[in-house]
């Protein structure tokens, strides 16, 4: 087992009567890609929202790089080095690509209102740093040439990349991607896979929620399967795709012993 960057222990949250995530204990290995999968409504996005501090868990603990971050607010979590993107392309459409991505670097700056009014040295220095960080992030996602266009004018894939760049501009150790390939065509999806691999090659840890199995199976080092808010499996793609509990969760109770039980079909991508 490689060293883990994030550990959750007995993590759970209830909304009214609904137990959206229940007693999940898992680790994300450092420097790897972990995919979180599960049927619709399994609690994957909620799981992300818990890690990133959007929701306060009703039970359990979250540790990041050895530090307990369970009760931290979102901006504090980002400050510790966990950045995220959203399910839908949520970016600042009316801003230029560069300006939008610079917002992602805010967490590394301290300039406030007085710095703004007096144009202090800190303001100018941090403005320059933000710009550099944003340009670096845009470079990493291959959008440096688009920096001055309005973000809303980019393609769906481009906007996804802006979202990732914004997350990268906060200089994270762990990047959470919520359905990064949603709405992309196969070619764009392949490009995105390449990008994610490059990021991990650069030392980043990535966790992603994704429904496109071609992407998950082709990319993930480790897969965590949620069903009804609970963890039902964790392992390599090969292990997970042979796990009967996983097959049942996805394909339904009638799958046993039928066509689905046959081994040796890995790699038959759609």
């Amino acid at each position: 087992m490689p060293e883990s960057i994030l550990e959750v222990e007995g993590l759970g949250i209830r909304f009214g009567g609904l137990h959206a995530v229940r007693d999940v204990t898992a680790q994300l290995p450092a420097g790897k890609i972990t995919a979180i999968i599960g049927p619709n409504g399994a609690g994957k996005s909620t799981f992300f929202n818990l890690i990133s501090g959007f929701y306060a868990p009703t039970s359990g603990r979250i540790r990041f790089q050895g530090e307990d971050i369970t009760r931290l607010k979102t901006h504090q979590v980002v400050g510790r080095g966990i950045a995220r993107t959203f399910q839908t392309t949520t970016i600042y459409r009316e801003l230029s690509v560069l300006e939008g991505v610079m917002i992602g670097h805010r967490v590394r700056t301290r300039a406030g209102l007085w710095d703004a009014l007096l144009r202090t040295g800190r303001e100018r220095r941090e403005e320059a740093e933000s710009r550099e960080a944003a340009l670096r992030a845009l470079e990493r996602v291959g959008l440096a040439a688009q920096a001055h266009r309005p973000a809303g004018a980019l393609t769906q894939e481009g906007q996804k990349r802006v979202g990732i760049a914004m997350a990268l501009a906060s200089d994270p150790r762990l990047l959470l991607l919520d359905e990064p390939a949603a709405g992309m065509n196969p070619e764009e999806t392949v490009n995105l896979m390449g990008l994610i691999r490059e990021l991990v090659g650069g030392g980043l840890t990535v966790a992603l929620v994704e429904h496109k199995m071609s992407l998950v199976m082709g990319l993930a080092d480790e897969i965590l399967v949620l069903h009804h808010g609970q963890k039902i499996a964790q392992g390599t793609p090969g292990e997970v795709s042979r796990d009967p509990a996983v097959i049942e969760a996805y394909l339904g109770g009638h799958a046993h012993g039928g066509q689905m039980g046959q081994p040796g079909r890995e790699g038959a991508h759609a």
Partner: protein
């Protein structure tokens, strides 16, 4: 019959459905398979009138469904049981059901008759009839949602992932109920992630991937096709 021709739907610059062709014959159960984000819900929203298409047509018994007026579509016999249920959580189960018969509000006797039929179909709901719909368990809420769409006395029932988040036993109950509804003459278009449970009761099916129909065929053909499996698990 339901006839969908070259239907496309855009959300801003994003194309959610791409030239979809699809039919449901009278009395059929047709299953729509596909991973999340494949466009199933968009197709349903379009057929129910909640969403307007950017191109293409959809007709039920020759009447177009794409006018952007759901109340019109319900009155023409096309009812949607939507993903996420969209119940009225603070109203009682029975009031939810009675509102389901809103388009038949002049036919009180018919509504009472239908109410009896859906309680027969979902006996669990009888004891809960006066409870607020939002207080029920997920499975029971799903039953209320299906029952509510049946109260409109549809000839074509659109079911968007009725098994979502339900325990396996409840899923079996729900699918048995769908079979019974179909046996009474209602055509059904059913979206499912639970591929094998759905194919177990369907006559035919379509696989939707990335907003396009990537595969179609009879129940047997789809059950045996590796691509169905790969669309879900990628194995």
């Amino acid at each position: 019959m339901l006839e969908v021709q070259r239907l496309s739907v855009n959300y801003g610059p994003f194309r959610a459905l791409h030239d979809v062709d699809l039919t449901v014959q009278e009395g059929e159960i047709v299953v729509l398979l596909g991973a999340n984000g494949a466009g199933k819900s968009t197709l349903f929203r379009t057929l129910s009138g909640l969403q307007r298409p950017s191109a293409g047509t959809a007709t039920w018994r020759g009447v177009p469904l794409t006018g952007g007026r759901p109340e019109f579509n319900v009155a023409r016999g096309v009812a949607l049981c939507p993903e996420g249920r969209l119940l009225f959580p603070d109203l009682s189960v029975e009031k939810n059901l009675r509102l389901g018969a809103f388009v038949h509000r002049r036919d009180a006797a018919g509504t009472e008759r239908e109410l009896g039929r859906v309680y027969d179909l979902f006996p669990d709901l009888v004891g809960k009839r006066h409870a607020p719909a939002g207080s029920l368990s997920g499975g029971q809420q799903q039953m209320v949602a299906i029952a509510r769409s049946l109260m409109a006395r549809p000839q074509l029932l659109l079911l968007d992932e009725p098994s979502l988040g339900l325990a396996p036993l409840v899923v079996e109950q729900v699918f048995a109920a769908i079979s019974r509804v179909n046996a009474s003459g209602v055509s059904v278009l059913l979206a499912e992630q639970n591929a094998f449970a759905a194919l177990g009761i369907a006559h035919r099916g379509y696989v939707l991937e990335g907003g396009r129909v990537s595969l179609q065929g009879s129940q047997e053909a789809l059950l045996g096709d590796d691509r169905v499996r790969s669309a879900y698990l990628g194995v």
